[in-house]
């Protein structure tokens, strides 16, 4: 069986989001299927400018076919069009224009799918909101599996997506909340759908002590890992944390890892380490008291799963339904929706090592039950087996085409 993973960007250099999710799944599924990746030559997710030069290459034993972006995104124009669409009534044509503006504009990839549809058994599309998924699924709905990686943002209410979610053979969701949201939006309950997510692998060795020594962290700390951005709720986290420090006199520190898009407050209690190696990341996580996850929009937080895999509790933003739902299902994290709840939850976690340990153990159990690679692979295989077994659909679809 030959399966193509279709994603907006792909490469070892891309270390987050749906792209990393796709790479990990592709690399784990290559032992079950012949796997290829169809993607763009882009690296920058803001402009989608061509970066990779080769049309074909092998990455970790997987053949990658790259297609050029015919027109990079103009962020100013795109922002203006999106704002206009979100501000008021509009037609489907406007949404399609928005889609072209958003990109990555890769008509050659769509042409390739059209010409070689018979060469592949299934196309697994990642990220519902981009050009490749929209046109690809419309072209080969009978062979499409969509991993939407959808968050609760405004554009999901566009008409084109309501129809899109009803087209593929199957949908693979990241969380129960994502599934509920998409079902409610598009009434697509009749389509095969499964909550799967993504696994993670912990390094064999990690040492929180080494990390604490390296960065002279004497008191306990909570850690944030990821892009430091307003959309990720980081500015709110800084405000809440500094106010918490001022009001309680706690010795807790906040350690930040990742690229920053905003100004980080200058405070001895906030330690910014920038982009760090995987080794440092896991060491830092291991040495921390808990992970802070202040994001408002997540379809699945990989770093939260990593924290749970390491037995660390999480303090999450309750405004994000996915994070709140995961904390409740796993019983492995507390959450806050305002400063009062933040300070109460953080004080409780800081003061009670028993609570941290109990939540961390629950997290570890939740991870092992739902997110080890064996389980993820089995879920993907069972979806494909289910589709293969659906002969009626196949015969009706062949009559249709």
């Amino acid at each position: 069986m030959k399966v193509a993973f279709v994603v907006q960007r792909y490469g070892l250099e891309i270390n987050g989001g749906a792209e990393l999710h796709c790479r990990w799944i592709a690399e784990h599924m290559k032992k079950h299927f012949e796997v290829e990746v169809l993607t763009t030559k882009a690296f920058d997710y803001i402009t989608w400018k061509d970066h990779f030069t080769r049309d074909e290459e092998m990455v970790n034993g997987i053949k990658i076919r790259r297609f050029p972006v015919t027109r990079p995104r103009n962020p100013v124009r795109f922002g203006r069009i999106q704002n206009a669409l979100l501000a008021g009534g509009h037609e489907e044509e406007d949404e399609l224009r928005w889609m072209n503006e958003e990109g990555p504009l890769v008509p050659s990839l769509i042409q390739y799918i059209k010409r070689h549809a018979d060469d592949y058994d299934y196309f697994i599309f990642f990220s519902y909101r981009y050009y490749h998924s929209f046109w690809g699924i419309n072209l080969v709905p009978q062979k499409s599996i969509l991993v939407p990686t959808a968050e609760r943002d405004a554009i999901i209410h566009f008409k084109i997506f309501e129809k899109l979610f009803r087209k593929p053979r199957a949908l693979i969701y990241n969380s129960v909340e994502e599934r509920k949201m998409i079902n409610a939006l598009s009434r697509n309950e009749h389509i095969t759908g499964e909550v799967v997510g993504v696994g993670t692998e912990l390094p064999e060795k990690y040492s929180g002590e080494n990390f604490q020594k390296k960065h002279s962290l004497e008191s306990g700390y909570l850690i944030y890992i990821g892009r430091i951005d307003e959309n990720k709720g980081c500015d709110e986290l800084f405000r809440y944390f500094l106010r918490f420090k001022k009001e309680t006199g706690s010795s807790l520190k906040l350690v930040l890892m990742g690229d920053t898009k905003i100004k980080i407050p200058s405070s001895p209690d906030i330690v910014y380490l920038g982009f760090v190696s995987e080794e440092d990341k896991f060491n830092g996580l291991h040495g921390s008291l808990m992970l802070a996850m202040p994001s408002y929009y997540e379809s699945l937080s990989m770093v939260t799963l990593e924290a749970w895999a390491m037995g660390k509790p999480v303090l999450a933003n309750a405004q994000c339904e996915v994070l709140k739902g995961q904390c409740q299902r796993s019983n492995a994290g507390l959450y806050y929706k305002d400063y009062e709840e933040f300070t109460e939850a953080l004080s409780l976690l800081e003061s009670s090592s028993d609570l941290r340990e109990a939540l961390g153990n629950n997290g570890k159990l939740y991870f092992q039950t739902n997110y080890t690679w064996d389980i993820i692979e089995k879920k993907y295989l069972s979806i494909i087996q289910k589709l293969e077994g659906d002969k009626d659909w196949k015969s009706t679809s062949s009559q249709r085409h």
């Binding site: 124009r77 409740q328 507390l334 939850a345 028993d354 109990a358």
Partner: protein, 210 residues
């Protein structure tokens, strides 16, 4: 052992959050946190008293009205006031210029405030007008930019076509040049063959006519 467990279970009771560490329920903990927040006494917000420039501060209090508080302090105050009573016209006379000056200042301040309010309103109007104009200019500029961007994309595609065309022309010219060279070579070979056949003809003629 059972006691230890109980201790662990009720370990947070002093802090008002009850946690069963052997069977953690996050929703229950969050519910208790919310209840605890809700039970906190609401801090009274001090009411802001609007400042009035004509407050009593600018007008000296009538000492007679204030006289009469009980206790030693009050009696002392009354005594001093009684002693000073004969001098009160003089005191009033002395503070009269100051009083007049304060009154004028208040009037001036009031007028200045009114002017400032008027100027603020004007500035706000002007700003609104400017914002509207700016929005309009932005809209027009954006539309023009869109058109220009479309033109640029079109010109870019056209340039690509021209580039391909010139590339094709160069290829065709090269092919023609090669063809020409080939034909020239063929012609030279034919000339040589013709000359050789002439010589042969002459040699044969010689043999025939011998």
């Amino acid at each position: 052992m059972a006691e230890e467990k109980k201790e662990r279970q009720t370990g947070q009771e002093n802090g008002e959050i009850r946690i069963d560490y052997d069977n953690i329920d996050v929703e229950d903990i969050m519910r208790q946190i919310r209840e605890r927040i809700a039970a906190r006494p609401v801090k009274p917000v001090p009411e802001k008293v609007p400042f009035d420039s004509r407050d009593a501060a600018f007008f000296p209090p009538d000492y007679e009205e204030e006289a009469g508080p009980a206790g030693i302090k009050g009696r002392l105050k009354n005594l001093i006031l009684r002693i000073m009573r004969p001098l009160s016209p003089l005191i009033k006379l002395l503070i009269l210029p100051v009083h007049e000056e304060v009154r004028r200042t208040v009037i001036n301040l009031d007028q200045t405030n009114r002017r400032l309010d008027y100027i603020n309103a004007r500035i706000e109007d002007d700003l609104n007008r400017l914002r509207a104009e700016l929005d309009h200019v932005n809209q027009v500029t954006n539309e023009r930019l869109d058109m220009a961007l479309d033109d640029i994309v079109r010109i870019k595609e056209y340039s690509k076509l021209l580039h391909n065309l010139s590339h094709n022309l160069v290829v065709e010219l090269t092919k023609l040049k090669i063809e020409e060279e080939h034909l020239r070579s063929a012609s030279r070979i034919l000339d040589k063959n013709f000359a050789m056949l002439g010589k042969r003809e002459r040699a044969l003629e010689k043999e025939v006519f011998k």
